[in-house]
Symmetry: C2
Subunit: 371 residues, 2 copies
């Protein structure tokens, strides 16, 4: 019975979903007490930190609904390719998706702000913007024409500056550098004269090894460890300024979400909120350990970008953001302006709170380490 | 069927519970398929950031349970005084409580680590410890003898160093200073020679005004604004090192929690997790705005503790932590060691991630502000 209902849902969803369809579908399933929904993701099955997040939130929704809403999670390519999650949920091929907003800048440049922008916000600042400063309402406005209901659902935290074959000592060292970097970060590096390329993950190592590229951005120690880049590009630079956090999203087909009973809507929102914290914690905790492994066991050279490089990157990022403000469509201008105003306000607090404290903690004094 | 099962479970939960009062109250409501639980809090009714958190999580649980679990929130003193939340939930006078662990160091010194300790962890580090490094299991071990199930549920973030009538220019300025400060922070200041006093919130302003005290710690701009301390002690110091985050807790009577159907258990866990992020966002977002108001409209002098003071505070905090390790009971030693080891690991990542990024962002470059 369950299975038959599910097949019917899947079949109709495949045809491509309107409001009437969604509510018609929902009704019989609810009457029998069980719905089966599909979550497509942008992640290779099992990828730590992101696929794990998708699985955790799916399980929480299932448990909290007492099994009334079962969710099957799919890796990239199982139903649709990883970059088509947005479209698949929008048109009802799947009810839910897990990926990150800035994969979809081709729909609107404004999506970038809901993941991260160069020199933008940290994770706690981004959460504060979305949860308490009006970010969520703007996000829903942006996604409404795409028939999507978004929630934050995980965060990589600050990403690393990337892997470089040679040291970076001045802004000029980016001139002609062949570097893999996606998104707005790529635009920033181009302003410094870098020759930016985009390569799928599976081709990056070989390109580094052959010298086809001089370096690559990836994520952070937790994901980077398994990629093996340290074998051919041992200079690992911090701080990453191109993605000072990266929010993952849970997206739900808006018509189907609206047709759910209120308690299931509340369960999905709560589970996504919980997972936003959990996913953030997973990346954060594993990164410390992975970084130690990289440095201690694999001879990685952890290097800080020189001040002159950071200032040059900052000015380049400022230009990229200004161009986005100047040339963006109406919704992009609206989102960018709101994001930048909120950022200005939040930085004021970060400076004396998290940043002020962390800098004080780094002074020299005697404090037990637990060893 | 579901409903009958639920009623049976709920009835058993009523019988199993310690407090005759609570179960007697709950029983008639349960007979109609609805449970009514009571949440006692340590907060004056309506206190921004904390009472608001308690209300938000209660509403989320009620909504996500489809109204099966209704929760009435009580302010401090309405059922029990604010500092008796722990006991009231432990003995079943109330089913739920919202306060913060370190209010209960008289039960065990180890509770402090689940709120915050001087020079300890930031909010994201604390979340990473609890969620992903084993902190939650230790917390449950600590609370099991008290018949309590804990969840993180809100965070004030980094607190301010406090309000001072006079400037602090050297560690010696703490000698003989009459200062209001609770918890381990008080022990730290005592090591610098301060004359530390504890006063209830309602008496602090008068004590400052009369000169009975020279300064006071409170929370951060969001809560401090309404207290008016700036009128008599205009020097507002950062960074606060005594409480580099402060986790709020949702505690549930463990027997009653265990007797709940699994879906309601999952709903409570998810709602608490979501609220941990939400409460953190509320404090974070409001702090930036409140700080601006304090400085712009009330002439507050925002001052940074000098380096020599921070180092002295660091060494004093190190001594306090070492004494806790040396003299604590078994569970305190276990928790403190685990906390300190995890802290050492996480700081390694914070330094090059959130802290490294925030410091780079503060360099001079041109970036749009949204104005």
């Amino acid at each position: 019975m369950e299975r038959r209902e599910f097949m019917k849902t899947a079949a109709v969803a495949g045809v491509g979903a309107a409001a009437a369809t969604a509510s018609t579908l929902a009704t019989p399933a609810i009457a029998q007490g069980v719905m089966e929904w599909r979550m497509v993701t942008a992640w290779p099955k099992g990828l730590p930190g992101v696929y794990s997040s998708a699985e955790r939130v799916a399980k929480r929704i299932e448990d909290a609904s007492g099994g009334r809403l079962k969710i099957k999670v799919f890796g990239a390519g199982e139903i649709v390719p990883g970059l088509q999650v947005f479209d698949a949920v929008s048109n009802g091929t799947a009810e839910l998706g897990h990926d990150t907003p800035y994969y979809h800048t081709s729909k609107s440049k404004a999506t970038a702000f809901f993941t991260t922008v160069p020199f933008g916000m940290t994770q706690v600042e981004h959460n504060a913007w979305i949860n308490m400063a009006g970010g969520q309402a703007l996000w829903e406005e942006l996604y409404a024409p795409f028939n999507l209901q978004p929630f934050m659902c995980g965060n990589t935290g600050v990403q690393m500056g990337g892997w470089f074959r040679k040291e970076i000592q001045a802004p000029e060292d980016f001139k002609g550098l062949k570097f893999r970097m996606p998104g707005m970060g790529a635009e920033v590096l181009k302003k410094l004269g870098a020759n930016v390329v985009l390569l799928p993950g599976g081709e990056v190592f070989a390109a580094l090894q052959s010298g086809a590229i001089d370096g690559t951005e990836w994520t952070g120690p937790y994901n980077d460890l398994s990629m093996g880049f340290y074998k051919v590009a041992p200079n690992y630079y911090w701080p990453g300024i191109h993605e000072p956090s990266a929010a993952m999203q849970l997206i739900i087909n808006k018509e189907k979400f609206a047709a759910l009973p209120k308690d299931l809507q509340a369960i999905i929102a709560a589970a996504a909120g919980e997972e936003n914290m959990m996913g953030g914690s997973e990346f954060f905790e594993r990164s410390g350990t992975a970084l130690e492994t990289l440095v201690r066991d694999h001879g990685v050279k952890l290097r800080q970008f020189p001040r002159s490089v950071l200032v040059a990157l900052g000015n380049a990022a400022g230009e990229v953001l200004q161009e986005t403000l100047d040339n963006g469509d109406a919704i992009t201008k609206k989102v960018a302006t709101h994001f930048l105003k909120t950022r200005t306000n939040l930085i004021r607090w970060t400076r004396i709170a998290d940043q002020g404290f962390a800098n004080a903690r780094q002074l020299e004094f005697k404090y037990p380490t637990g060893e």
